[in-house]
Symmetry: C2
Subunit: 379 residues, 2 copies
């Protein structure tokens, strides 16, 4: 293959065609999850794929600035970005066009996002994204609702047995601030916490401010939410960290009230990977090895409005969800009317030429005496 | 407003947010139309929004090359295009990844397309597009099916009383070729036909080859399909034009057999606006002033495969479709369980804080003695 004769089947790295039946399955999953969001009062918005980079990369958009494709708008001669995340756009809509609507505002969205580069673990550069945002409500019950609604959306498409991982990305910074830690120790502690290296953390906090003494205990408490919460309550926390712990307890209580059976873990000292979150943050993992299905949490939206939200990844949900049976395909001879069979749930496939046969058209059923019967495959 | 302080609500020209309830309505229309396509055996594919421009602008893609945003792929250092049309991508999939599957192949798609510039009449630079492609079938019944399925999809979302306009974009070129017309007369005739100026056409064909003598009669015959077909049959056409007329008659017979009540017009001399079509072409107009809802026709796909297809424009369909009633919104006091009401079709909106009231949350219903009753607006 040379540059002059590129392989026409070749797509850029990280960009792929979704073929039958996966494209249909993904679309069905997306609409089923959006249906759950609508049933909880979340109203759909559809921002454009492209907008001026000033607005696209404002607020939480700054976190994906490096991952955003940019192009020149020939009309305005200004730079536009191809969205890498939908949350900043929903924040813009909430602050501007829906700025006068009473709070809290519940919005949802479904669409594609594009990224300049994939990673080794996540090579895709185009990802479907669906999500919910609750803007203008600071109550712990708002965070709880976001988590519960996301879990319900996953259950609606057959993904049960998920695990909700709760983190408090502001906890470690609050402890480090309270202790007045110098930049060198701060960096070392952050690295040790990131590596989950409890021996290193214990050694680093030895002889330091009392606010840091709780770190080894909080690391050890990571696990099922009840135990981790109890450890947080028992710890001698400085005031700022105490407020974070109390808020986490209230959010977890709100979740437990609405989704009593949900498996929840709490990691009080995890803080990486949530670049703009200001409160409780969530990751939802699928059962078994199916991986991360959703991510979200509390943030500050435009005009300093409190907000919380969750993004779900339909490509990952597709891998975790059970395969639905495709519609049976019924062969229709030339001139036959298929309306009644379509109403029964068949996909009718009409013969258009003499060599169109049930086998050739991959039909599962054909008509015999006017009734659908399974196609017998010839040996 | 200066460049330093851009209005955050400002979007690039031709790019817009779709807000509640329109975003929800458009998504519902798209999935309902895709459901009709699936019920006729059309299988969904989802090509990426970006691909290498070599493949994106090949074949029928050349028609939208000027309208295609281009960007450099930092991974491959090759140019990519942001699709301005989905048909070329479906042609690529059919020729490559689905190349070994038996023909005809029935595929459908739904997604966004982007254009570098809008026009005065069609200012949007991002358009939703849904469509069907039938690849590897040359039968007139294939063209008929494409038209009938598109009309059925529109009917499924409440758009009835549409008109199917049939044109034969190869007819005028065939007549001009048969007459061996010189380039100057060719240009003059094309302009006069394009302006629908029958006096000018009559004057220009005076004394020319017999193949051109039919033009004034064919212009006059434009209108309801039966009359126009009769005029085509009666006209003394050269062989190439005769074949086009016979094919048109067969396509129209196939449509009449599957959609007897459909209003069809035929313009045998219209040829503009169908830049890559090689046979019968279609435009579907909505009732009243709702305009063009769909466009398509026969073309040559990759590997010279015969193909026919139709693109529908959900933004136009949204304007033509009846407004559906939104879900009633039921206010849920703190702690109330809404599952049973969601199953009944309510959107439940949970109170999260003391100042959340039914009025504030724009609820239509509230619970009284455990049952939903309409919210009484206070005077």
């Amino acid at each position: 293959m040379t540059d002059d004769l590129p392989n026409p089947a070749l797509l850029p790295a990280g960009l792929a065609d979704l073929l039958p039946p996966d494209a249909e399955r993904e679309a069905a999953l997306v609409e089923a999850m959006m249906g759950v969001f609508a049933s909880h009062g979340y109203e759909r918005v559809k921002p454009p794929l492209l907008e001026f980079e000033d607005s696209l990369l404002a607020g939480s958009g700054a976190a994906v600035a490096e991952q955003t494709f940019r192009l020149m708008d020939p009309v305005s001669q200004r730079m536009m970005g191809l969205r890498a995340d939908t949350t900043p756009q929903v924040a813009r809509i909430a602050a501007t066009r829906l700025g006068a609507q009473a709070r809290p505002l519940r919005l949802c969205y479904a669409g594609q996002v594009l990224r300049v580069r994939g990673t080794q673990l996540a090579p895709s550069r185009q990802l479907p994204q669906v999500g919910v945002e609750l803007i203008g409500g600071a109550a712990p019950a708002a965070d709880g609702e976001i988590a519960v609604v996301a879990v319900e959306a996953l259950a609606a498409v057959g993904v049960a047995g998920v695990s909700l991982d709760v983190t408090l990305p502001t906890m470690v910074p609050a402890l480090l601030d309270a202790a007045g830690v110098d930049p060198v120790l701060r960096t070392r502690l952050a690295r040790a916490l990131d590596r989950k290296d409890s021996a290193a953390v214990a050694a680093l906090v030895q002889g330091q401010d009392a606010a840091l003494a709780v770190l080894p205990g909080l690391m050890a408490a990571t696990g099922p939410a009840d135990g981790a919460l109890a450890a947080l309550e028992a710890a001698a926390l400085p005031e700022s960290a105490q407020a974070i712990a109390e808020n986490a307890a209230a959010v977890l209580a709100a979740i437990a009230a609405r989704a009593p059976g949900l498996r929840i873990t709490l990691d009080p000292v995890e803080f990486r990977g949530f670049r703009y979150h200001t409160g409780v943050a969530f990751t939802i993992y699928g059962p078994g090895m199916s991986g991360e299905l959703a991510r979200g949490g509390r943030y500050v939206s435009q005009n300093d409005e409190p907000a919380t939200g969750m993004s779900l990844y339909p490509d990952a949900v597709l891998r975790a969800a059970p395969v639905m049976a495709p519609k049976p395909r019924l062969f229709l001879p030339v001139g036959a009317d298929g309306a009644a069979f379509r109403a029964e749930g068949f996909a009718t496939v009409a013969a258009l030429a003499p060599d169109d046969t049930p086998q050739r058209l991959r039909c599962t059923h054909e008509l015999r005496d006017g009734a659908p019967v399974p196609v017998v495959t010839k040996d």
